[in-house]
């Protein structure tokens, strides 16, 4: 078992560095800077960055982008649903910010093995901040034997300061896409 939990292994830091590269790409496109990579057998098999502004679809978070790449790729290779489920159960996600409630629920649906994130997400976090979807359901089997929410191992705080500083830079320069009353653009800022 890898030592993801105790100290960050060099591998963990290297994968998180790649996720941060993705977040920087998002920032360059005026997107909220969050990025991720998905790793299987020690290799990066997909990466994603936030694309909510470009798509005008607020659900296009980095995780969803990376997941879609994998689903398309595996289906092209003719994998069955069971094989795809098996694949996800061996995947690690490295993401710069704690997955939101939507993404955490999606990761539970897919049955991912493990998630490592950078900074916590105090407003929307689904892996401990607001909801704890990574813990799965407290009642694993309901009366009629329907499996309930699957949990996954989750470790936070990996290179959190880098992740936070990207977000801070982004919001300080003013998110041009935020609803009007929230934050003024930098030139109009009185601070």
């Amino acid at each position: 078992m890898a030592s993801h939990e105790e100290d960050c292994s060099p591998d963990t830091l290297a994968f998180m560095e790649l996720a941060i590269q993705q977040a920087k790409l998002a920032m360059d496109s005026l997107e909220v800077p969050v990025g991720c990579v998905i790793v299987e057998d020690g290799k990066v098999i997909a990466s994603g960055r936030n694309r909510t502004t470009e798509t005008r679809n607020a659900t296009r978070h980095a995780e969803m982008e990376a997941i879609d790449i994998l689903l398309e790729h595996w289906q092209k290779n003719g994998l069955s649903k069971l094989e795809v489920a098996e694949k996800f159960s061996n995947c690690y996600l490295y993401v710069t910010c704690e997955p939101c409630i939507m993404c955490a629920a999606a990761l539970s649906i897919l049955g991912i093995k493990e998630v490592c994130y950078g900074c916590a997400n105090d407003k929307f976090g689904g892996c401990g901040s607001i909801l704890s979807l990574h813990l799965g359901s407290s009642e694993p089997l309901k009366s009629h034997g329907v499996p309930q929410g699957k949990g996954f191992k989750c470790t936070g705080g990996i290179m959190a300061s880098e992740a936070v500083s990207l977000l801070r830079t982004f919001y300080e320069q003013g998110n041009p896409n935020a609803p009007k009353p929230h934050r003024p653009l930098a030139p109009q800022a009185t601070r």
């Binding site: 607020a58 689903l71 289906q75 069971l82 049955g111 329907v146 309930q148 041009p176 609803p179």
Partner: protein, 423 residues
């Protein structure tokens, strides 16, 4: 009376709209938690002086929902005024426990204090509030109180809600296989369908890279005039490829989100499936595609369009919208010339701000949070989702205070028979 009128009359009797509050409702037969307070009857002439003094020496910090003063109707048309003096101990009923400065006030005005009970927590629904007021009056402010419908829908509006829900139910049943969930995003200010979708976890149209080509705006509109059908739709699932590939999914995705890998596909050639393409997610994608098509050149560089559309609050009524347009005539005209052939920029909403969504089943956590992100104003669903529902069944996202957006949630109660093939 023709058939559709009969249907509508039947619906009127059996369909109902129920507000799903932010907190689990307390059953009417169950006592709401209370606290003891000292109260006293006072002379109405002294009301102002006493209230001002009491608010200084004994503010009701954790009981802001409780009214300090109460007017009680007595027999013979007389009224008496009662005031809360301060909190009382829960254990002993002795007046000695009253705080010192309040006791002085009581003595100097010769009030006769007694202990009574008030509700400890603010009401989370109108029903709870009515219960509370029997004990001692409280105020009721649902956090989403500025959203229409929380205090009830009028008859005409209810019929419109039922029409859109009927549309969603028909959509849910429109596949060849089992009934799936369905989602219909509606702009209530013009009663127009913005986007609609079924679950697509089993088969779906492969989007072409050029998304504007694959997208067709639904021209669905609603008409209350003299037509027999309340709702008319031209674009009810006419996706050729979807009907060719048989839908063999086992029910609504949101009900069984974790079972995707167990669902067998008897379609060797169908290589397209996606465990996360629940109806609400697909509908959001369609509405985003519509937005990109209607307003193609805007949004990448944070230009004026944002400044304009941000003026529409989530509660903006059509009338308000009109006003904003007029105030910005110059800007709007400028932008219109920039985006020739496009809809007025001012009409462009920020994501789904101001829009409603109709779902046959209560959405799962993933879908419910997606609807928070996309800024949906109101959610109407027909059937609860005990396995994974996130609007009251398992989680209650509308009550998660930390989220940056809150929608109002309604359940449309309808007979379960509507799910059987003939509506």
């Amino acid at each position: 009376m023709n058939k559709n009128d009969t249907d509508r009359d039947r619906d009127r009797d059996r369909w109902q709209i129920l507000y799903i509050p932010d907190k689990p409702p307390i059953p009417p037969n169950q006592q709401q938690p209370t606290v003891n307070v000292f109260a006293s009857i006072i002379d109405p002439k002294l009301a102002n002086t006493l209230i001002r003094r009491l608010n200084q020496i004994a503010p009701l910090e954790n009981l802001r929902h409780v009214k300090r003063i109460r007017k009680k109707q007595l027999e013979g048309g007389k009224t008496e005024l009662l005031v809360i003096l301060c909190l009382a101990s829960e254990n002993d009923n002795h007046l000695d426990t009253m705080q010192h400065d309040v006791r002085e006030l009581v003595n100097s005005y010769q009030l006769s204090a007694f202990i009574t009970k008030v509700c400890k927590f603010p009401a989370s629904s109108k029903e709870e509030w009515e219960e509370q007021c029997k004990l001692w009056p409280t105020s009721y402010h649902p956090p989403t109180y500025n959203i229409d419908g929380i205090t009830g829908f009028n008859e005409e509006y209810s019929q419109s809600v039922f029409s859109f829900m009927r549309f969603a139910v028909e959509l849910a049943k429109s596949g060849d296989g089992l009934v799936t969930n369905a989602a219909v995003i509606v702009d209530p200010s013009v009663k127009k369908v913005i986007a609609s979708a079924r679950d697509e976890i089993c088969s779906w149209n492969i989007p072409t890279n050029n998304q504007t080509n694959s997208f067709k705006e639904p021209d669905t509109c609603i008409s209350h005039s003299n037509s027999n059908r309340i709702i008319t739709h031209d674009t009810l699932p006419s996706n050729g490829s979807t009907s060719e590939l048989k839908q063999l999914c086992t029910g609504a995705s949101c009900l069984y989100p974790w079972q995707w890998s167990e669902q067998e596909l008897y379609m060797p050639n169908s290589s397209c499936w996606h465990p996360l393409r629940h109806a609400a997610i697909v509908a959001i994608e369609c509405s985003a595609a519509r937005d990109r098509q209607l307003f193609p050149d805007l949004g990448d560089n944070g230009d004026k369009s944002f400044e304009l559309d941000q003026m529409h609050s989530s509660t903006s009524s059509p009338a308000k919208r009109q006003k904003v347009n007029l105030e910005n005539v110059e800007d709007t005209e400028k932008l219109d010339t920039l985006t020739e052939g496009c809809h007025s920029v001012a009409a462009r909403p920020y994501l789904c701000t101001g829009y409603d969504i109709y779902l046959v089943w209560e959405p799962c956590t993933m879908c419910a949070m997606a609807l928070v992100h996309q800024r949906i104003r109101r959610i109407f669903y027909a059937f609860p989702n005990p396995n994974a529902g996130a609007l009251g069944s398992v989680h209650r996202l509308q009550g998660e205070k930390s989220l940056n957006h809150h929608y109002a949630v309604f359940r449309v109660l309808l007979p379960e028979e509507v799910l059987s093939v003939e509506l």
